[in-house]
């Protein structure tokens, strides 16, 4: 017998859950997201548990291992409530102090607080950090607050209220209208209006009298992107609730969450959440006693990037090889097993419950004319604060990279930002004031994509960046269609030649021609956008290509075959550090006298430059 038999039972349960969580309750939120795990948060958990128990605080303090808080750069993160002290880079040996000082005595542990790198100012709470106080969180509303493995946490925060509202006071048509009015567009990259997609799927299903499926695309695979991972790990119930509302609107009774298998934590959290939702009567037959039935199966991807493409994903779900097919007949008409199928991305689904709960007008009041709401970006690369950032659409690149993420690491100069993953484009400094939304990014030759942002500094070679992304895409091309399989391979080999100093006149023109062929003639989204890294770097950094091809020079000082290292005798004090570090004994010189590099022996690995503390090693 399911636990919550009707909406009243849900509300009663919510009231109880809230009563157990008063505002002045003592809570420790340890970030258990993959970023913080990588910096050791998993080892903190037993230490906290032991320490709390030793101090007789079992049951007194609510210890939560939460999903990603966002500021991965400073992980592992710990927040102590009710004071909301924000601790960063916490190590196991810091735990007793946190428990004694903050949990028991209510005082902050000064040395673990965040210090603004620019001003040196110490910040006590999360919301005092520029990284957080400029964000607006809708999709990531509960990240860092709830324990994703405890459904009570989600319900206490208002979870499943939107589902209850939709099922009891709205018709499917009204739900679709609400989502249409909200202006919500697909967060996976396409930016297609979500409500319109739902409507098409519902109509196709009704016309053909067929069953319909809903799918959540959790096959996030862009290098450096982890927005969906953050949501799947940190708030799985938001996705389940969103999908259930969507299924109700569309008239579907079966859904799938397709998660990439490289996200084991996401798979685990989603699986637990689905189990819990079933137990509570929020999934399965007769949800909340309303007569509506819907269930979700979780499918793991096999590691192919292309399976993030909707038709390839559906082929993979059917047990076939993950290859895209022509989409001239849309998947909302003929998708999974040739039935009408509605596929949305993780973030899109997670945005649905707040829209239903707070209304379309509220959501539409955020963002720009054409792009409503917020968007999560994973900002990585050469920035001070890497992590997950959720901001209203229309915020400029400059605000995200400099104001929120603290600018470029090590005081270097900004050069470009790659948005939209491997199929996106690289935007230069002149584009920093571009409002980030679907239209503006596309006009600038890049795209929103799923929200990856890779920031590059002055030492990044743009030709090499294009080469890197093409290498990724060449490996990830399924190989079905000629332009993608063969075209990318030849583009990669041309770019590789250019970075090796073997570029020839005509190469740039051939790249253009291949890029146009891919854009027009490739079969799926991967292929048609695959040339974007090349096209956008050609558009904004053509001089760098010219320097490589015609002058055999890499202006960024990166491409090994095109650079030389030398030691500035003025700056070198003969400390001998580079001499010891050089793997090929190319450096000669007596102690305390300027050293020299033998170019014949130098393999241009750059170790001397990294080793030198006086900036005496120059690259040209």
């Amino acid at each position: 017998m399911p636990f919550l038999t009707d909406v009243r039972a849900l509300e009663e349960f919510r009231a109880q859950a809230r009563a157990k969580r008063p505002a002045d309750a003592r809570v420790i939120c340890l970030c258990g997201g993959t970023g913080c795990r990588a910096s050791g948060s998993a080892t903190l958990r037993p230490v906290f548990e032991r320490c709390l128990s030793e101090n007789g605080l079992d049951g007194e303090v609510d210890f939560r291992v939460t999903g990603c808080h966002g500021l991965c750069e400073y992980g592992p993160l710990v927040i102590v409530h009710p004071q909301r002290y924000f601790y960063q880079r916490v190590k196991p040996e810091d735990v007793p102090e946190i428990v004694h000082e903050s949990v028991i005595a209510g005082r902050p542990v000064e040395r673990l607080l965040y210090k603004d790198p620019a001003t040196g100012e110490v910040k006590l709470r999360e919301d005092e950090l520029p990284f957080y106080n400029r964000q607006q969180r809708i999709a990531m509303r509960d990240n860092g607050i709830i324990d994703p493995l405890r459904i009570e946490d989600y319900i206490a925060r208002g979870g499943y209220a939107a589902l209850a509202k939709a099922l009891t006071s709205m018709t499917p048509e009204e739900v679709i209208e609400e989502v249409e009015k909200s202006g919500l567009r697909g967060r996976g990259g396409g930016g297609f209006p979500t409500g319109r997609k739902w409507r098409s799927c519902r109509e196709a299903g009704e016309k053909r009298g067929e069953i319909r499926y809903v799918i959540c695309n959790g096959d996030e695979g862009d290098p450096g992107a982890f927005m969906d991972e953050g949501i799947m790990e940190g708030n799985p119930h938001a996705i389940i609730e969103g999908m259930t509302i969507g299924a109700y609107a569309i008239g579907s009774h079966e859904g799938f969450i397709y998660v990439r298998a490289e996200y084991p934590l996401a798979v685990k959290h989603l699986s637990v959440a689905v189990e819990q939702a079933r137990e509570y009567g929020l999934l399965g037959k007769n949800i909340l006693g309303t007569g509506f039935s819907f269930d979700i199966k979780i499918a793991r991807g096999g590691g192919a990037f292309v399976c993030g493409e909707s038709t390839a994903l559906m082929a993979s779900l059917e047990g076939k090889a993950g290859e895209p097919r022509s989409k001239y007949i849309h998947t909302v008409e003929s998708g999974l097993w040739e039935k009408p199928t509605n596929l949305n991305n993780v973030e899109t689904w997670a945005c649905v419950p707040p829209i239903i709960l707070h209304g379309a007008e509220w959501f539409a009041s955020i963002g720009t004319e054409e792009s409503k709401g917020t968007k999560v970006f994973s900002v990585v690369g050469k920035v001070e604060n890497t992590g997950l950032v959720e901001v209203p659409m229309g915020v400029t690149l400059r605000e995200i990279i400099f104001d929120i993420c603290g600018g470029i690491k090590g005081g270097k100069k900004f050069k470009a930002v790659q948005t939209g993953g491997p199929s996106g484009g690289c935007l230069p400094e002149s584009m920093l004031d571009l409002p980030v939304d679907f239209e503006h990014l596309a006009e600038a030759g890049s795209m929103m994509g799923s929200g990856g942002m890779i920031v590059m500094d002055e030492e990044t070679c743009m030709v090499d960046v294009a080469r890197y992304f093409l290498e990724f895409l060449t490996e990830e091309s399924c190989g079905k269609c000629t332009p993608c399989r063969e075209g990318l391979r030849h583009m990669l080999s041309i770019l590789t030649r250019i970075t090796k100093g073997e570029g020839q006149p005509g190469d740039i023109e051939t790249l253009h021609e291949l890029a146009d062929t891919l854009a027009d003639a490739a079969l799926c989204g991967l292929g048609t956008t695959a040339a974007n890294p090349v096209l956008s770097t050609l558009r904004y950094f053509e001089d760098e290509y010219h320097a490589h091809v015609y002058e055999k020079r890499c202006p960024a000082g990166f491409c090994r075959e095109l650079i030389t290292f030398s030691i500035d005798p003025e700056a070198c004090n003969g400390c001998h550090a580079c001499f010891a570090a050089c793997p090929t004994q190319a450096i000669t010189g007596e102690a305390k006298k300027p050293h020299e590099i033998d170019q014949a022996k130098c393999i241009r690995c750059g170790v001397c430059r990294i080793t030198c503390r006086f900036g005496a090693v120059k690259v040209k």
């Binding site: 192919a304 090889a321 097919r325 022509s326 001239y328 007949i329 060449t474 490996e475 990830e476 091309s477 399924c478 190989g479 079905k480 269609c481 000629t482 332009p483 399989r485 063969e486 075209g487 391979r489 030849h490 080999s493 051939t510 021609e513 291949l514 146009d516 062929t517 027009d520 003639a521 490739a522 079969l523």
Partner: protein
Amino acid sequence: MVHFTINGVEVEASREENVLQVARRYGIYIPALCYHEAVTPYASCRLCIVEAKQGGRTRVVTACTYPARDGLEVQTDTERIKARRRVVMELLLAQAPASEKLWEFAATLGVTSTRFPSEDPDNKCILCGLCERVCREQAGVASISFAYRGRHRKLTTPFEEPPDFCKGCTACAYVCPTGAVEVRLARNLLELQPWKAKVEMAVCTECGTPYAPTAELKEVTEKVKLELPALNLCPACRRKIHAKTVVMGKS
């Protein structure tokens, strides 16, 4: 029925047809290598691209998978299409430079050279997958399949071993547009390359000529549920004996 235009010519078609089928029915040529009317369109070679205008929006689409729809305006040979086709053709030539048939086909499109280097000068296969589809959909055997991904993709047999279920129907060789499948008769064994398939041939009881794969004969026999003595003869002997029966009235 739907009505639309191809290169300005008004055409009529059923909703189940694709643009390539309709064009061919009307005698309008659109080049294609991975298309064959006997199997499901696959849209992999991308030579059949055309410009399709619908609802005010012009897109480059593959004719072999684009459904016939009312009001569609198709252009098969615009400058844009010709330029893209040319590059696709060059890419295919670089991929399978050993295929004479491919060079001949390319010449009909006015492409006689490729600027792209070849990785395998002996290759004839362009991975159009017709062999795979005909084996699965028509022969009902699925002895051939795609394996690996991207640049490593190839057409091969299960576990890359001689296929257990190949009947020797040679449909794969028949549909292959580039001559990449080779069929050779060595005494009474039919060899299909590159599948490493060796299929036993039945020998004519009259003249001793190998004339049909044993497995195929067996299948036919089982299907018609009759033991036909004529099936033990090669077509020539069958004709001869039949003629004798008719003319001389003896069996």
